[in-house]
């Protein structure tokens, strides 16, 4: 089954998304920030990355950029609640850097799961 990496600094949201995706039989790897994500990323295992954007260490924009370099075929979903510059600025950046889809928090996790399914065909 396809592999999904979840990068989110909020532990409760991270575990909820893990539960939702594991129920659909995806292999799930989690990371609490961008640095951990890049350390754990394995091109042979991960087909899609769901990443928060504002995180304390390496942020989600950096994750998108570096993963696109490592494995360009990786599908990417950005999730963000925005910062002072507004969610639009971060989600815009994420799209321009190659995110296939963006979700502004709060979103229905079932919609994210559906999008994962679509992107992984």
């Amino acid at each position: 089954m396809a592999g999904v990496m979840i990068v989110e600094d909020d532990a409760a949201l991270r575990e909820m998304l893990r539960d939702s995706l594991e129920k659909r039989k995806y292999t799930v790897i989690t990371a609490a920030d961008g640095r951990e994500a890049l350390a754990k990323f394995r091109p042979s295992v991960v087909d899609l990355v769901v990443t928060d954007l504002l995180m304390p260490e390496e942020d989600g924009l950096m994750v998108i950029m570096k993963i696109k370099e490592i494995k360009p075929s990786t599908r990417l979903i950005a999730i963000s609640g925005g910062g002072m510059a507004g969610p639009g600025s971060y989600l815009l950046m994420a799209s321009k850097l190659g995110a296939d889809h963006v979700f502004s928090k709060p979103f229905l996790p079932s919609e994210l799961v559906q999008k994962v399914k679509e992107l992984l065909g």
């Binding site: 504002l54 995180m55 910062g83 950046m93 928090k105 709060p106």
Partner: protein, 260 residues
């Protein structure tokens, strides 16, 4: 939950640091930070509620309880939205903004995401010049234009030159005869456009064949520049590059007029 954002909203990579924009901006950032964290919590509530509904029979009494949890989360979402709206209202007040500061914030924000073959050159002949603007709005204008410039160059080597000029007379003085607007110019050495494409780029939903994007970016930029009382124009040569010029009223003359 990342409560640290409440206290230090600029601790991540939030480009519009609060310190330079005063107490109102700090309040706005705090409200925005709380709304952000609340929205994260609400997403988790939605997720577990949806999972619980999937595992129950439709007629179970517990289903009704879970629907009420979701309804309560919807109300919390509305409250978070109101908080965010308050945050944006405060943040959307026009204040005198040093253009060079916002340019520096924008370039710092973008730099790590731009391929290393692209040089970004700052050419600021009027480093203290300011305009009346919402800082976040000016940031979004510059963000869009510089990102577009980087995309036009792509993975090749190239240069983005950002120029800030305030017209002066022969003695180097600012006078109304020499123009009351600041000029911000963003030039790239990218693939450029033909005149037909350049003539349409501010039209809603126009895209130049990119795979991503809504085609609204430059329409939003154009509207935002107009909101600042300014103008935007573009010139481009295929395979040579593109230049965007923004003309925005200078607060220097605003204050002169007020004195008169």
């Amino acid at each position: 939950m990342s409560g640290k954002r409440h206290i230090r909203p600029a601790a991540g990579r939030d480009p519009l640091n609060t310190e330079s924009h005063g107490a109102a901006a700090q309040l706005s950032a705090m409200a925005g930070g709380i709304a952000h964290d609340l929205n994260t919590v609400i997403t988790t509530i939605y997720g577990y509620s949806e999972q619980a509904l999937e595992t129950l029979e439709q007629d179970a009494e517990t289903v009704q309880y879970i629907r009420r949890i979701i309804a309560a989360a919807d109300r919390a979402k509305t409250l978070a939205g109101q908080l965010l709206s308050l945050s944006h209202r405060v943040a959307e007040e026009k204040v005198p903004v040093r253009v060079a500061d916002v340019l520096a914030d924008t370039i710092d924000f973008i730099r790590p995401s731009v391929p290393s073959g692209i040089r970004i050159i700052r050419n600021l002949s009027a480093p203290d010049a300011s305009v009346m603007a919402v800082p976040a709005q000016l940031f979004r204008i510059l963000l869009n234009l510089i990102l577009n410039a980087a995309q036009a160059i792509g993975e090749k080597e190239g240069t983005i030159t950002v120029t800030l000029e305030a017209p002066v007379n022969e003695e180097g003085e600012r006078t109304e005869e020499n123009g009351t607007c600041l000029l911000i110019r963003i030039s790239d050495t990218g693939k450029g456009m033909d005149s037909g494409t350049a003539g349409k780029i501010f039209d809603p939903f126009f895209t130049s064949g990119k795979k991503s994007g809504t085609g609204l970016g430059l329409t939003v930029v154009s509207d935002a520049v107009r909101e600042l009382g300014g103008k935007i124009r573009v010139s481009s040569v295929r395979d040579k590059g593109t230049t965007f010029e923004l003309l925005i009223p200078d607060t220097f003359f605003g204050s002169l007029n007020e004195k008169n």
